[in-house]
Amino acid sequence: MTRRRVVVTGMGWITPLGHDLEGTWQRVIKGESGIAPTTIFDGGTFPTQFAAEVKGFEASDFLGGDYEAHKDVSRQAGFALAAARLAWKHAGLGKAASLDKSRVGIYLGGGEGPMDFDNFTAAAVEGWNYAEDDLDTKRWADVAYERLRKIVEAEQDPNMAAAHMATMFGVEGPNFNTLTACAASTQAIGEATNIIRRGDADAMISGGCHSMIHPFGVTGFNRLTALSTRNDTCVTASRPFDRTRDGFVLGEGAGMLILEELQHARSRGAEIHAEIRGYGSTADAFRITDIHEDGRGGIAAMRTAIEDAGVKLEDIGYISAHGTGTQENDKIETKAIKGVFGDRAKNVAISSVKSMMGHLIAAAGACELITCILAIRDGVLPPTMNYENPDTACDLDYIPNQARKTAVTTCLSNSFGFGGQNDTLVVSAFND
């Protein structure tokens, strides 16, 4: 039984290191940092006062004549539309007049839009009855009706980025959004691959978008003590696999890929950048806060993806690690890689681009998959920056501090989400 093959024909991203495919990739290879003091809001008293922000972004620069219709989108949906437009162009789909748009779909790992912070907090404070220490829902409703705005509320729904994209490109095929925390866009790409394989669509725009660099986002992660608090040395604060790592650095952005069934891509003469070979998704089913200590779910996701890809362990030349820079993730991910690769684990090059871009949450996996594809194309593996102090619990080859010239044909990309959601993709150079 031959199954339909799924190839990548276009890529686009909006990241803390840049908005263009090649320039951003060059900054990744050079090991530049996208991390700086937070400017989106005044978080001067927050435990964490820095982030990897997308800089100088104007959706209008990317959307041209479509901007006006979509100008009210949330920050993250703006990233999504821009990245998707870049990917669409990269794939040469602007010229594909004969596209059957009922056979083109969207599968995103899109985050929720930020809450309307100033108006929300105003209503909360004004609606609070200090004497009774309780919310006065009558007063709250009065203020909320006055201050909250229909469009801002509507745009917070996590499926809105995918909905805007459907309209912008006029694509009517299967339209999904998954929000499995930090694993979302890896999951989306895996699911989109399966949708094409089974024949429910011929092409999918897939990836993710997210921005949690807002007061409630930082509050949530600070309360979980998941974020680095190196406010004085923030540029080098993201330190995956380094012994002194103290948490992840919040990033934002979007990564989008055009996935196509092989014959569909060929028949329109598209350039093929890579093939999505395998996908694995599992649940730890362990605890809401902790990863299973043996990396049970991560091991199962990697094994499933490798089996789905039909590749051998020795074929995998590079692992784009989830590598968040939290004590727990990096230790257990290392253990899980050893669990899958055994003696070979020491010979596989591994890195985390989160050391430079920060953690793009729902958008992370898509951007990391794009780095895998570019690494295969150029024979250059991105480094793990800020790796200075070896940790006995993390004793593999993390490509420390300097990109490495190595020809690879197959890469594995991991994304693990809060709540024990594990997703892995295997991508290869396209080969007949």
Binding site: N159, T180, N194, F221, A285
Partner: protein, 451 residues
Amino acid sequence: MTDVRRVVVTGMGVVSPLGTGVSDTFDALVEKRCGIDRIKSFDASHFTSQIAGEIEGYNVKDCVPKGYRKAIKVMARDIELAVIAAYHAVRDAGLRTKCLVDRSEVEGGVDVDSTRFGANIGAGLICADLNELAGALATSAEHPDATGNRGFSLEKWGSDGMTNLTPLWLLKFLPNMLACHVTIVHDCQAPSNTSTCGEASSHLAIGEAFRTISRGAADLCICGGAESKTNPMGLMRQSLLGRLSTDCNDRPAEACRPFDAARTGTVVSEGAGLLILEERERARARGAEIYAEVVGFGAGANASNWLKPQSDGRAVALATSKALADAGVSGDDVDLVNAAGVGTREHDASEAAGIRAALGDRCREVPVIATKGAIGNNGAGSGAIDLAMTIMAMKRGVLPPSINTREVDPDCGLNVVRGDPIDSRADVAVSVATALSGGQSGAIVIRRASE
């Protein structure tokens, strides 16, 4: 392709304003009871719509192992409802999951291979618990000014106000926490996913679970959705979007009128529906009761606007046509339709147009069931409850009426079951759902289990 794995429904768990358990909710629908009432959980008198389908008096503790009870404090209401529905679904399916074994409810050990048991649960944008969040935010208010107004100080919030929130606060509101808690409680380690597409979430989740089992990545999957919109923020958002009935605050049972000529809007609700999908041979081998077979799935998108439904219902039409083709049936084969019918003017008209386009002339005769008049619209959980009710109607041979549909809007042109329940045998049914915001649409075709 040979050796297609067939997928059947072997268990259903429903929590709705009409009751807990799939039979209770279905019986209430047949008895024409209404779960919509004036809002009791908070003072809604300053909202334009003051009615909802609320669920009262449930107990999550009875649905998790004793050792898991402490986790309940980090469950938003949406998560609690999912956990309750999951418990009822696995019991209904006669499975011995980790939860039921830990609770000593079943004899013998776990009879499910965890690595072949997946989850795909639809979730909404989980609303902040305003009592909790506003209470914490209030500690960071400025001193009242001359008019008594207080501003909010981000400076105070960052330095210490935020510590009034529990450390795990964020985890209450991540949409994938529904699946996370359910997979922990029942030990489901196979493919797991969370669909977040408004009212279409359940259908997309169930459709994907169907595909996951078909392609062999799992043998069992717990799937569906859950959401609660019966809180100040959830109600406010729907109110601002202009979707709610506001003329029936004194007659809540008459407020939501799917496809009725005089419909004026929908009503917020809360609830969960989770189904156990199982590979057919596995179900047969263990002698499970088979409710129905899932035979088709289709999805489509509104490519004309992200907030406004299409007048021709094209997204619904596309999803439905694809689902029917996937099932290998034509519109003429369909004996029963389950429509979302939320009760707003434009969404119902759009959905009906889509169904008509997909089913053609068959639409004049085929009975359509709609449940929102009795249970309201909870968002992500509505579709799974609807599908469960459709399966019950098929199994019992009784079609429940849409309680407030008196005169079907000629613009809708569907044969909506109304008045009294109808005895009718259905072999093939299609259930559709569409996201009010976003327009994502899904359709599922089910077939009576062969006897």
